[in-house]
């Protein structure tokens, strides 16, 4: 059971206090998008063995969504940050690079 820190209210809590929401930083494909784009938006997930960006909601706390950078293999959490970002902020990227020098970066 993971420990996560909600960047909105600052509480560090058990995983059961949060609800997972899948991969973060997806770009919505609405009307006008091609079948391939829509397919990618709906179904294609990176599912990496390693650094991953995820959506979580502090469902039994402040109710806010936030994002987490986490290693799916070791379960290390590099950091959590507000959901209102289009890509991982610089300090999160730096924290990951410090621990995973070989990481290819967010793409």
């Amino acid at each position: 059971m993971l420990l996560l820190t909600c960047p909105c209210c600052g509480v560090t809590a058990e995983e059961t206090e949060f609800a997972p929401g899948g991969e973060a930083h997806l770009k919505r494909s609405g009307p006008g998008s091609s079948d391939a784009e829509f397919d990618s938006y709906m179904f294609n997930r990176k599912n990496p063995r390693g650094v991953h960006f995820e959506r979580w909601r502090h469902a039994y706390g402040c109710g806010k969504w936030f994002l987490a950078a986490r290693c799916t293999m070791t379960l290390e959490v590099f950091g959590t940050y507000p959901a209102q970002t289009l890509e991982p902020p610089a300090e999160i990227v730096a924290a990951i690079k410090a621990k995973r020098p070989d990481w290819e970066g967010f793409a």
């Binding site: 420990l3 058990e14 079948d35 709906m42 070791t74 209102q84």
Partner: protein
């Protein structure tokens, strides 16, 4: 024969007799011992029959690793199968019954299975019973079911009378294992200032050291253990628990502890088990090591035991497993057993040592005590039927065709070396390395399980770490490092010096003799509980199994309730040998929690019965509960399905409610309906994205029905939206969908459109909402006075608010029944009074509450869809002929792109129609329309399914809706629906709106 020794027994209280029964026979033991010790003291060595071959089995071990000695404990409601006698404390009144034999333990007719063992070799269930096909169901399966399996399940009507609880706890350093390494670790961490918890799975501190004759500061280990426990007990920052097993290590320092609080004292006030849900900063495991059996023919006979277990029974409980015990080993440690037996006055005909030479200090001590030591030898075969009677010895490097010596004996103490208990280290990803000198896997400190910060959070000390000699110093270091990692800064006093005799290296012996012929290998047991032998693993390798995980599943090695604690290493050594590769190349199977089985009761804790989950209560719940409510679960609500009256069954009750709503006045408690306020300058824009139809142009004071889809275009929820003001909408959702819809809105607002000025509040429980339904509904409301609810003022699909006879009311003129209908919302606190007043004022108007089933029938008669009936997560609005509710003007809404996909616009989709049985009967739920043809898989081809089906009290016959291929284009056509068996029901496709199609009733 096993027996009680006249003196000794460090853990028993000879002054306190304990009386218990075994298969109905009365027996006596001593307080402080395990059931295994008591049984052996009573000469009971035969304790059960094996899983497949029904071979006689006895105790092998003295602790959690025991594979054989499982019994059914307790009686009636407290009966529990498959309990290990080695971890059961004996108590007055204990009742134990043996398992897996027929007709009796002594005479088991199913033991014939072992005469034809070729039927039950590795993977037997994949290959032996394939043909003829009909035999499986009628011959093989019944026989296998009768002969296989362990204990019986408790009686179907048994109810666990005991209480279980769970506790959350936190500590800096959790030490698991209360042997001397664990005690030292706890002490060092505590002295350094950390908050420490120490768990020990047995009821005694000290572990093996006092049994093995370890000295600490020149003294007996017992004295040090006593003093150290006293010191720990005096410290405020230490929490000690006996009978508490570290069951599993999980992510980020989360650990489950299984405390058997009162297994030894059933019926007392205490909970039976307690599950600790511990969040530890650092974990130090000091879980010791488990001795390995040796694989020789007949190693499963009662009387063959682990050497360490023999020593435990002698030293701890003053129980000798036999009059004459042959010790067989590949290491020095087992000589401790020979010496302990000799000291206790038990005969030791010989120590059979596989090594070419044996010269360690313990060996010298044994020789000095006059014990015969044979080197370079092994056991060829154990003789005996239900008990060891003799052993035949042969050269270790031979094929074992003939014996060189033979000893009469009634027990054998075997030692194949030790395996560190690495389970807890491995549960969360700690890696292992192979120790060449000691021939075991030990934790690789460089690759620990990682915590949230990426640093290791488990450290291992003592023999669990593979430290087979002195342990206190390294335990101290490990604990200090763990305490430092949690921020403790204090200093700990230097540990005492423990000393154990030097040990000469062991020799790996995975099969005895090393070149044993097939006949012997057929009788060498690896996994005692699942009856897996050396020959089975070798066969699997010959059949092409290479992965240890596959071999495990094919042979069932290590898959029994003991999870291979004794068998796994031996099994994978045999597999490695057969594959011609070193053991680390084969690797281990995965260690999964829990360490030993834990009770379902502990997992459930207090969440049983009425505390299983919190229930949500409507403000009118009390009235329902005391007026015949026949409740049905709707989410976490318990809504009345119907209100039963004396002498009525459900059917009659529902029909009465339906008829009354159509003719007089019905009341429905709709408080559970989701009510979400959407407010802000961008509320209209937001609503247009959320609903398939246009909402931004809804005028204040008006209501509109709308559909919500997910991005796939699948219909998710529906309901009536009321525009409260220019910048506010009230969204009504289904009862079960309110929380989900609110969460869904928040998701989009927070994560996608975070610059939109909108905010949502779930007001579901703030209001009571009552639907007043039927031809006399307006008449009833008008009696309240206050608000004008006349047809001219409050038109269909409008709402208004004001005082309704003193109640703060918001009245929505909407209808889910097809009748004249008002849904009146009042603050939750006024809900019950308003309900009571409606009943009182409407008595002469035939006012009558109706439940959810009548609600369903009323809507089905009108052809209204219900989320969850007509929808199942794969249905788009167009399937339900709801195209009118999908805006063509909007550029975008959630689900719009999804609906444009090829599969969604395909004409073959099943679409909503009404269904009418030709004979008027009620169609079965979920029935499928069959074409009479077959699919490519030779299954019946279908072309539709029933989504809602009821008896209509209004139309006096069965009514239904369903999805049918090209349905709306096939009006009047008669289909066949499959009933039970070969039954076929003829059904005509009709318009789904069966009642008042023009809407005259609701528009008055």
């Amino acid at each position: 024969m096993s027996h009680r020794l006249a003196t000794g027994g460090r853990l028993i209280d000879r002054a306190r007799d304990v009386k218990f029964t075994f298969n109905g026979k009365h027996m006596t033991g001593f307080a402080g011992e395990t059931l295994a010790a008591s049984l052996l003291a009573n000469g009971q060595t035969l304790l059960g029959r094996s899983f497949k071959y029904h071979r006689p089995r006895g105790v092998v071990a003295s602790g959690a690793e025991e594979p054989n000695a499982l019994v059914g404990l307790g009686k009636g409601d407290r009966y529990e199968p498959n309990q290990r006698v080695t971890t059961t404390e004996v108590f007055d009144g204990l009742s134990a019954e043996t398992q897996n034999h027929w007709p009796s333990l002594e005479y088991d007719l199913l033991a014939v299975n072992s005469l034809v063992p070729q039927f039950l070799t590795a993977g037997f269930y994949y290959k032996t019973f394939l043909r003829p096909r009909a035999f499986w169901k009628h011959v093989y399966e019944p026989i296998i079911r009768k002969s296989a399996g362990l204990g019986k399940a408790p009686a179907h009507d048994a109810r666990d009378p005991d209480r279980y609880e769970q506790l959350y706890a936190f500590c800096d350093v959790l030490v698991i294992g209360g042997g001397i390494a664990g005690l030292q670790a706890a002490l060092s961490a505590a002295e350094a200032g950390a908050r420490v918890a120490l768990w020990e799975q047995t009821v005694h501190w000290g572990g093996r050291a006092p049994v093995d004759g370890v000295t600490i500061d020149g003294q007996d280990a017992d004295a040090w253990v006593k003093a150290t426990v006293a010191k720990l007990e005096s410290m405020d920052n230490v929490h000690l628990r006996l009978r508490c097993m570290g069951a599993g290590v999980h992510d980020h320092g989360y650990v489950l502890g299984y405390e058997r609080v009162s297994d030894h004292a059933p019926g007392t006030d205490a909970p039976r088990h307690r599950l600790w849900r511990m969040r530890a900063g650092q974990i130090v495991t000091a879980t010791g090591a488990i001795e390995r059996p040796l694989s020789f023919a007949g190693n499963d006979l009662p009387g063959v035991m682990l050497a360490s277990a023999v020593r435990d029974y002698v030293v701890n409980y003053a129980v000798a497993p036999g009059q004459s015990v042959v010790v067989v080993t590949n290491n020095d440690d087992a000589y401790r057993t020979a010496i302990a037996l000799r000291r206790a006055g038990v005969g030791v005909p010989a120590v059979v040592d596989a090594r070419a030479e044996a010269n360690g200090p313990l060996v010298a001590e044994a020789r000095a005590a006059g014990i015969t030591v044979l080197t370079g030898k092994g056991i060829r075969k154990v003789k005996g039927s239900k008990q060891v009677t003799s052993v035949e010895i042969c050269r270790i490097d031979s094929k074992g065709t003939a014996f060189t010596e033979k000893f009469d004996c009634d027990a054998v103490a075997m030692s194949g070396g030790w395996s560190p208990v690495v389970h807890l280290w491995s549960h969360c990803g700690g890696k292992l390395l192979w120790d060449e000198a000691n021939h075991f896997f030990r934790p690789d400190a460089a690759r620990p399980p990682l915590g949230t910060d990426g640093a290791g959070f488990v450290t291992v000390c003592g023999s669990a770490n593979g430290d087979m000699g002195a342990v206190l110093s390294s335990a101290h270091e490990a604990a200090l490092a763990a305490a430092r990692a949690t921020g403790a800064t204090g200093n700990a006093t230097a540990p005492s010096a423990d000393s154990a005799p030097d040990m000469a290296p062991m020799d790996a012996v995975w099969m005895m003799p090393r070149n044993a012929e097939y006949e012997l290998r057929m009788k060498m047991w690896l996994d005692f509980q699942n009856d897996v032998k050396v020959a089975d693993v070798q066969l699997a390798a010959r059949e092409g199994y290479q992965s240890v995980e596959h071999t495990k599943r094919y042979t069932t090695l290590g898959m029994a309730t003991d999870q291979g604690k004794l068998s796994n290493i031996n099994g994978l050594a045999i597999l490695s040998d057969a594959l011609g590769q070193p053991i680390p190349a084969t690797g281990t199977t995965t260690f999964r929690p829990p360490y030993t089985p834990i009770s379902i009761g502990a997992i459930a804790g207090e969440a049983t019965g009425s505390t299983f989950q919190p229930l949500r209560r409507s403000p009118i719940q009390d009235w329902h509960d005391s007026n015949g409510s026949d409740p049905e679960p709707v989410g976490q609500w318990r809504r009345p399905y119907t209100y039963l009256r004396a002498g009525e069954d459900r059917h009659a009750s529902v029909n009465r409610e339906v008829a009354n709503a159509r003719t007089n006045t019905g009341l429905l408690d709709a408080s559970t309906l989701g009510k979400i306020l959407v407010q802000g300058p961008d509320a209209g824009r937001f609503m247009d994205m959320f609903y398939t139809n246009m909402m931004s142009n809804l005028k204040p004071g008006k209501c509109r029905y709308g559909l919500m889809c997910n991005e796939n275009g699948f219909l998710m929820d529906d309901g009536v939206v009321a525009r409260l003001s220019d910048d506010a909408f009230l969204v009504h959702t289904t009862s079960g969908g309110a929380d989900h819809v609110h969460g869904w809105m928040e998701d989009w607002l927070q994560c996608e459109w975070w610059d939109w000025k909108v905010h949502t509040v779930n007001l579901t429980e703030q209001f009571a909402q009552i639907a007043v339904v039927g031809p006399k509904a307006r008449q009833l409301l008008e009696r309240f006075g206050g608000m004008d609810v006349s047809a001219d003022t409050l038109k269909f699909m409008e709402w208004s608010e004001g005082k309704l006879g003193g109640f703060d009311a918001r009245v929505f003129r909407i209808s889910f029944s097809g009748e004249l209908s008002f849904e009146v919302a009042v603050p939750a606190g006024q809900g019950r009074a308003f309900w009571d007043k409606l009943l009182a004022e409407g008595a002469d108007l035939g006012v009558m509450p109706y439940g959810t089933e009548a609600l369903h029938i009323l809507r089905a008669e009108k052809g209204f869809i219900m989320i969850g009936d007509e929808t199942d997560g794969t249905v788009i609005p167009q399937d339900l002929n709801l195209n009118w509710a999908i805006s063509k003007k909007k550029d975008d809404f959630l689900g719009k792109r999804g609906m444009e996909r090829e599969a969604m616009i395909h004409p073959d989709r099943w679409k909503l129609v009404g269904l009418e049985t030709l004979d008027g009967s009620v169609l079965p739920h979920g029935a499928l329309a069959v074409t009479g043809g077959k699919t490519a898989n030779k299954q019946a081809e279908t072309e539709g399914r029933v989504t809602s089906t009821y008896y209509s009290a209004t139309l006096k016959r069965g009514i239904a809706m369903g999805l049918v291929r090209y349905g709306p284009d096939r009006m009047g056509e008669v289909l066949e629906f499959a009933g039970t068996g070969d039954a076929r029901i003829k059904v005509r496709i009709v318009d789904p709106v069966l009642y008042d199609k023009e809407g005259a009733k609701q528009n008055v």
